[in-house]
Symmetry: C2
Subunit: 417 residues, 2 copies
């Protein structure tokens, strides 16, 4: 048997029939099933029948086993047009057979071939903005991405799906939330497991993201598994979402609230728990400029005050303080100097949930007197992106940081919060 | 009416009888009830009857309204001896009437006077190690604290309760977890709301911590409200706990698992969900030395590489990376230089839940090749404290960072994790 053969694999009372794909390890067989799923089967104890040899051409760059002809999808006037924008990441990646690691090498058209389940749901436009692992995401690429999304919507897309690595998806979703006013959904999705792993989440996440992009919610959303099961994807507001687990498929969570909505994978219904901005409520517009000279510092006991020296001359600093928004009091005079020199300093909390309040304790009051701005309950990472945007676009940066521009500040759940 | 008067307050169908305390605002009346609780009542619409004038002396430093004579507690041979160690923080604080803010000014004996419910549960020894707001906690104070706890246990304490500000409680609990082998419980507790607020959690937390300190679990624990109700305190392992909310009384959570145990406040029963180290299983010992020249850096997109320059020459660095443990690939050569220069670099994840794994993607593999050590699923803050301890005490630091020394690394919940 060779990659590209149609095979039937029997193991432990289960039978899989499909195309054998190259596997990244000797321990596994990877079979591409009819529905587009790839399943991994332990080679140990597996019986393999070759049903037909070499039915698909497999090579290093096209290893999906999909028929090239399958990408020729006809335009259907009755379907909405969804723009698929790829930035790289696991959902748009395949295994690098040389190293056994996962590298990004697909464009959006390839994703469509790799996920046949997307067919028939929309007319697709494909576009590649970047081809990076998301830890290499940088503010200039956020600007490229926002401009690409803007162009796609201006060109008539009824919704946009952004395929993005999960490591920094929350930062990019925040960036687009501040940069764009949108009349259509902009839905980020990705994958926590690569497509050749039996537990890959790429098909369900991509399909659910397309359904969300067809919905009535014209916001920047993140669409990822809501549980370890393949039943529901959660829809998170881009400014309130956080990758809260390194490896689980349901790693993404809305911090401090239930997700905004969800996509039921079986029934393909999209539903929402709270108010959201309706499709066509906003005019399309873009403010992609960023002041990228903004840093984030997490305070921990024993922190070297010299980290504040690096910030000297910077335009902005997000502090991830303790509790209600504190740092060691010895740091306050240095922070005051930074502010006097023109750095905008915003306090957030490493607690992640709850609101910063620097009026309760002496330390906080001293920070406020030094000129530190309270970030309310904005997540620290979101606050960094927002401050980059506000410094470039807001007339009153302090007022902007205290105002919810894109859902990043939640209503107080209790009066004292 | 004046502070110190015995009063009856009627408001909105509720009646409170007790001693009027000074209030930090004009909007509230604060009444110390018989049971030791302080309750805040909205002054607007409240009817106040003065039952007796000036029954307790109130001044700026003793504002609990407790009778000084109440602190003369007799020694009871039938009760265990619990050492109460104060480091400051809300539970040991009162309102600063000049500013309206909360400052730390009580020692452990004062706590006992302020929380009469502690009486009869144990014989107490009081000790003040520090009197700081916990954002000012520093590694040398962890050493003082560990030595004080060690002395108290050596002197016969059957359990230790450490009163600590909540901002950095998790860091201090981690420090003591690594520094001490203990035959008795060491229980950290604190308060999210000061004693003059109706919602104060100080009485229940202190009482529950004493009950936990009398239990059979000879570990370093954090005892704080398990929910917003006054029913159960959770017992968290010191190395796995995190303050996950800025203001809620149940802000503390065990990350990635249920809490180790709990204290039912009504029935005063202490119960555990998982195995723990039994009382008297370990010999008392202390290794309080720390290499405090260890930094923590949280990587976010757009981070200034100069932050790594600050670390140059440091003994240790914890990176809080993205996802499975990544940073921008441009930073890897600089990290490799640090390691070559003798800095021990450990990778953790800002996801907080889940395990670092740098063997999956190219970036991670490059980090491993550069000499970065995987911190498994150790929380970033705990990893910083552990690395300080390991650099001073472990023969093989890399091996120590990959081994659970005090419950900081959890068992894999699933094979691929």
């Amino acid at each position: 048997m060779n990659p590209g053969d149609r095979v039937r694999v029997d193991r432990a009372d289960r039978t899989y029939e499909g195309v054998l794909l190259p596997s990244s390890t000797d321990d596994n067989l990877v079979v591409k099933l009819e529905g587009g799923y790839n399943v991994g089967v332990d080679r140990d104890g597996a019986d393999v029948d070759v049903l037909a040899e070499d039915v698909y051409e497999i090579d290093g760059t096209d290893s999906t086993g999909a028929d090239e002809a399958g990408s020729e999808i006809e335009f259907d006037d009755d379907l909405p047009t969804i723009s698929l924008i790829s930035t790289g990441g696991t959902i748009a990646s395949t295994v690098d057979y040389r190293t056994g690691a996962v590298t990004a090498q697909f464009d959006a058209e390839d994703v469509l071939r790799a996920v046949p389940d997307l067919a028939g749901r929309a007319n697709y436009r494909g576009r590649v903005v970047a081809n990076i692992l998301s830890e290499n995401m940088e503010p200039p690429i956020w600007q490229d991405l926002a401009e690409a999304v803007h162009e796609e919507i201006a060109a008539g897309a009824d919704g946009v799906v952004v395929m993005h690595g999960t490591d920094t998806m929350q930062y990019s979703a925040s960036a687009l939330s501040f940069m764009l006013e949108t009349p259509v959904p902009i839905v980020f999705t990705g994958s926590q497991r690569s497509a050749d792993r039996p537990s890959s989440d790429n098909v369900m996440n991509a399909v659910s993201a397309v359904e969300a992009a067809k919905s009535d919610c014209a916001e920047v959303l993140v669409c990822m598994h809501a549980s370890e099961s393949d039943d529901v994807c959660a829809l998170h507001r881009g400014t309130r979402v956080r990758k809260n687990h390194t490896s689980r498929r349901d790693a993404f969570e809305t911090v401090g609230a239930e997700p905004l909505g969800e996509v039921d994978y079986e029934t393909e219904t999209v539903s929402f728990r709270r108010d959201y901005q309706q499709r066509d409520a906003a005019e399309l517009s873009i403010e992609p400029t960023l002041e990228s000279d903004v840093e984030l510092l997490k305070f921990t006991p024993g922190m070297d005050p010299q980290f504040l020296d690096v910030v000297e001359g910077s335009e902005g600093l997000i502090i991830e303080g303790t509790g209600l928004g504190h740092v060691h009091t010895d740091l306050i005079p240095r922070i005051e100097e930074l502010i006097e020199d023109g750095t905008t300093v915003v306090m957030t909390s490493q607690c992640l949930e709850g609101r910063v309040c620097d009026r309760v304790y002496d330390t906080g009051r001293d920070l406020l007197e030094a000129g530190v701005i309270e970030g309310e309950d904005t997540l620290p990472g979101t606050a960094k992106v927002k401050l980059m945007w506000a410094l470039a676009n807001a007339e009153d940066v302090e007022a902007a940081m205290g105002t919810s521009l894109a859902g990043e500040i939640q209503e107080r759940s209790v009066p004292w919060e």
